[in-house]
Amino acid sequence: MKRLPPTGGAPLLGIALGTATVVVASAALLPVRTHVTRATPALVLVLGVVVAGVVGGSVGAALVALVAAAAYNLVFIPPFWTFKVNVADDWVALAVFLVVALAMGLLVAGQAERRRAAEAREAELRALYDHLRAMAEEREQLAEEATRAQVLERVDEQRAALLRSVSHDLRTPLASIRAVASDLRDGTAYDEETRTELLETVCDEAERLDRIVANLLSLSRIEAGALTPDRQAVALDELVTDRVRRLGGLFRQARVQVDIPPDLPLVDGDYTQLDQVVTNLLENAARHAPPASLVRVSAEERNGMVELRVSDEGIGVPDWERRRIFEAFRKGEGSRSSGVGLAICKAIVEAHGGTIDVDRTPGGGATFVVCLPMREVRTP
């Protein structure tokens, strides 16, 4: 940064201007010099010194004070046009003029210099401030770029995670289907019961594939911001009963109990989307339910909303994971799922203006609580 030179104004310009003022003032007062007192020209001539002091600094002021004193003597102290002084009074006047002019000039010059110094400091500070601001802006820009890079990296990571979990998720049911299908094709002799069980496995796993594909489609809709519910009146008891029946294959180990009163208010929602929420929650419960345990689905009206609860008696969700399990690709500890199901539930429920949360099942396990808006009851 450029440092400004020490103050002092422009001495030559100050001397020139001051001298010019002295000359002009002397010329102006020349016609009336006999009609005015000694004080008048002295006061006017000091103006020149002041000008020199302001513009040219102390050196200029001192020089112009001498010039002014000379002019005072030549023009206004008789005998005129000589440097002679006859009267003692005039000597005093001249001496006092010189002293006052010098004092005045130096004072004014000092003031001007201080002002210039202050201005210089201000300018310096402003330059420093500008520099700092430029640096801060640059840093901000760099930080912004870094954030952008981080976001891109995170998106890349998420995509990679999606691909990994999708391929794993799709392959898992495929592995069972292929194992059974190849075995049956090779003509392995099974008794009727085993054969039926194997074919049921194939059907169950094919349905599971179908659910995974449905979740992937929802995920792409969520990513595209196209998850607008097509609202209609949904009877949750019918939806849940139908879904539990269809998911029968999932509950070979655990028992399902549906506890929804038939007079439950209708939900204002998209049937297909809500069906997917229920499917994902039931699948999640089935996955975590220990053998011979109970998965319970209940619903009731609460605070003007319909509250649906799906609870299992599994290991439950630790407190620190409660919020995170609704993030995509976040699996619970030891979970076999890809972790998109609950993220989709959350997106759908929130698109409906509802809430989803996970709680503890009394006695152990996880209870998912979904609040959904009620359909306005229209009276005919």
């Binding site: 391929s167 794993h168 392959r171 898992t172 049911p173 495929l174 592995a175 069972s176 289907i177 292929r178 194992a179 059974v180 190849s182 075995d183 090779d186 392995t188 002799a189 099974y190 085993t194 069980e197 194997l198 496995t201 169950d204 796993e205 070979r252 180990q253 030891g334 979970s335 076999r336």
Partner: protein, 233 residues
């Protein structure tokens, strides 16, 4: 009755595999976690173990490692496609072979049979003078290889490579194992050598690319099979 322990956390896959094994008169036990697997192997030692690498509690590779500390039971691992590194790691930690998911039951059964055969082979350690894999005959004493009665000229390294694979017919040997056995213990990562030797061997054996005797397991290693005996996929 041969006892098989199948470890997988997918109930559907357990049902499919155990049905297929029971239909072939295997005695089948199934568990869903790594810890349960270790306990089961310790309590009632099976003749062969089928182990999924993606278990909820313990990593399958860790299960391999722990079991190998006190047991020689043959282990066939089940692994997802595209995870060659994990397959190699599992083989290095003591697994005998692997099958990639999704697999056909015939493929899994073939691997189980190979693993069981090798365990018997180890039990009777007398070195055969002549190794036979399909129509390949490797005469270790005379350093002669014949394919379908036709004598094949091999360099010493090619012979050692083929003899090593022939000693373990049907079983995958990792790049590292082959390099260390044939080239020496200071080798281990020079798998490009193997590609060159495998390609020369295939030429000399007159391998059919569709039904090769010398099978490449990409990213993992090689195995020598009898194409006529390999069950169709």
């Amino acid at each position: 009755m041969t006892r098989v322990l199948v470890i997988d956390d997918e109930p559907a896959l357990l049902r499919a595999v155990s049905a297929a094994l029971k239909a072939r008169d295997y005695d089948v036990a199934t568990v869903g976690t790594g810890q349960a697997a270790i306990d089961a192997i310790a309590l009632t030692p099976p003749d062969v173990v089928v182990l999924d690498l993606g278990l909820p509690d313990l990593d399958g590779i860790e299960v391999c490692r722990r079991v190998r500390e006190w047991s020689d039971v043959p282990i066939v691992v089940l692994s997802a496609e595209g995870s060659e590194e994990r397959k190699v790691l599992a083989l290095d930690q003591g697994a005998d072979d692997y099958v990639t998911k999704p697999f056909s039951t015939a493929e899994l059964l073939a691997r189980i049979r190979v693993a069981l055969r090798h365990r018997k082979h180890v039990a009777s350690p007398e070195d055969d003078a002549v190794l036979r894999v399909g129509d390949i005959e490797v005469d270790l004493a005379r350093h002669v290889v014949e394919v379908g009665g036709r004598k094949v000229e091999l360099t010493p390294k090619e012979f050692a490579f083929l003899a090593l694979l022939a000693r373990w017919p049907g079983r995958v040997l990792t790049h590292r194992t082959i390099l260390q056995e044939v080239w020496g213990p200071e080798y281990g990562s020079e798998s490009q050598y193997l590609r060159v030797y495998a390609s020369q061997l295939r030429k000399k054996l007159d391998d059919d690319p569709v039904h090769p005797r010398l099978v490449t397991e990409p990213g993992v290693g090689y195995r020598l099979v009898d194409p006529a005996a390999e069950a169709p996929d």
